[in-house]
Symmetry: C2
Subunit: 318 residues, 2 copies
């Protein structure tokens, strides 16, 4: 056992959430994480409603346990996505990149739980005011979409925990039991891990993407899109160097959007081109060095967390 | 008791180091931190040799416990500063902003310990190769000088711990027992705190600087100097907004250096101008909300750490 407040709220065994990852967190991974006692979240960002319905049906065939869908609220069809997800069996809706207020009531009315991803204390407060059940605060070190305030997990978690009464989940820079215990020490009630789950057998992307995560060094990721106020973290490659150079030279938003765009993620995750495609990856990718099953990731995280807590006790009994 | 490996190496009671802070960590604060069981480090960055000697003499009059000096190796007179510090009684030399190899042997020959501040895994490895006793890895969330790789404490500490055999101390985003336990969980043997100690009675700067730290919100700091490859984190103010705007417009290094420069720190810390001067401050400044004595900071950090470890045990005994 290793239960925190969020386990009862979300109906899960361990306080570990799968980050919603476009082209990565598809049915196999979501089902595997939920079946192993965590909360699987479908990365629905780039998916159509029929694709989401198909994935959720596959998940239901693989697990009886709760799972959810992560929906970026910037999508104009966000409301339809939410409704389709709930009708297809999602018990949790995780929203990000937008104001949680608009949909929270409707989701909760249908007996589902709402998680919102925030990037600063004010975002955590707004999540609470919107009636969200659990707020994920995601640090600057995380892969994928990032906050403009560049707040790190270590600095932000205690500030968010102090600011709200709802449970806080830490995201960014966490891949194992060390990160889980650190997050709990900071006052979080659990962790959300993305990058660690890219390097699993069940993750959807092309093997080249998993290989890129295994090989990335500590300083091998970078932020692009700062000049667009839409920063994202990914593996440094030919594409990111080109975008960074264009940003430095003051390229227009239109020019940059042409270089970035959603197709770049497909190019890496589906086609396997990790130089001209975008490989979203957090700084903790530098620590991830083997492909495991989602169950191994979760069980080893919990078992490492337990032994760390035991060894911390040694400090008290000197 | 709350001893880790670094306590025996540095001859201290608690694994808490004072970050070397220019115009902040002067004799009163250094002596108070050491006397309370931590390791006080004089922020010698902007000081002349006679000033350093004077401060170290004052420290020796206030405490019998070990203390040290932080010396940025970019100073052309770094070697003289090191020698003067050792002769004036420093037992530990903390070096930063340069290659630790050049002076480590000479410092250790004289029976002193060497700490080096690194900002990535390769810096931690180089510190070990240079024979350094303890390496501090400092995350992106920290105030003052920052690493170009923008690695955060949460992501970098486990990677550094895995890469080297010497003890690692975590810095950046830490101001209390929560941060200490998080750092220990990540594999660090202690913490270095800067921002927390600005808001102490013994810290040297103008009261306006302490007030600025108390008032800064979570997202109230920013990085300037990225375009110079010399990033520093400080409180957002009129000066930082002007520098950021100039950097965005592609100002030359000369133009920027004129806006930045060492005088800006004096302007805030000595003259109390927190709009046109630089108030170095980490992201955790958003959590710091009261001025305490250095002893209170240290004792409360240890006592909070102990109760967190005890409450983490509860997770194992469910």
């Amino acid at each position: 056992m290793f239960k925190t407040k969020i386990c009862d709220i979300l109906g899960i065994e361990y306080p570990i959430l799968l980050g919603g990852m476009i082209w990565v967190g598809r049915s196999n991974l979501v089902a595997a994480v939920s079946e192993a006692g965590g909360l699987g979240l479908l990365g629905a960002g780039g998916m159509t409603i029929p694709e989401i319905e198909q994935d959720l049906q596959e998940i239901r065939e693989k697990t009886q346990r709760p799972f959810g869908v992560n929906i970026p609220l910037v999508r104009p069809d966000a409301e339809d996505l939410i409704q389709a997800s709930i009708q297809a069996g999602a018990r949790v809706i995780s929203t990000s990149a937008g104001n949680p207020k608009r949909y929270t009531g409707k989701i909760k009315e249908q007996g589902c739980k709402v998680i919102h991803v925030a990037f600063n204390v004010s975002g955590a407060r707004k999540s609470q005011e919107a009636g969200v059940d659990v707020v994920v605060v995601e640090g600057f070190e995380a892969g994928g979409h990032n906050g403009v305030d560049e707040l790190t997990t270590m600095a932000m978690v205690p500030q968010a925990v102090r600011a709200v009464d709802i449970p806080v989940v830490a995201a960014g820079g966490i891949c194992d039991g060390k990160g889980l215990v650190a997050a709990l020490a900071l006052g979080a009630q659990g962790v959300q891990m993305g990058t660690r789950f890219i390097a699993t057998h069940e993750a959807a992307p092309h093997p080249n993407v998993k290989k890129a995560v295994l090989e990335v060094p500590d300083n091998g990721t970078c932020i692009t899109g700062r000049s667009l106020s839409g920063p994202t973290r990914a593996v440094r490659n030919k594409l990111s160097e080109r975008i960074l150079a264009a940003e430095k030279e003051g390229a227009s938003p239109e020019e940059l959007m042409e270089m970035i765009g959603e197709g770049r993620s497909i190019r890496a995750c589906v086609e396997g081109d990790c130089e001209e495609g975008t490989v979203y990856c957090g700084q903790i990718g530098g620590y991830v060095d083997s492909i495991k099953s989602a169950r191994e990731v979760i069980e080893e995280t919990i078992s490492e967390a337990k032994s760390i807590i035991e060894s911390l006790q040694g400090l008290l009994s000197q």
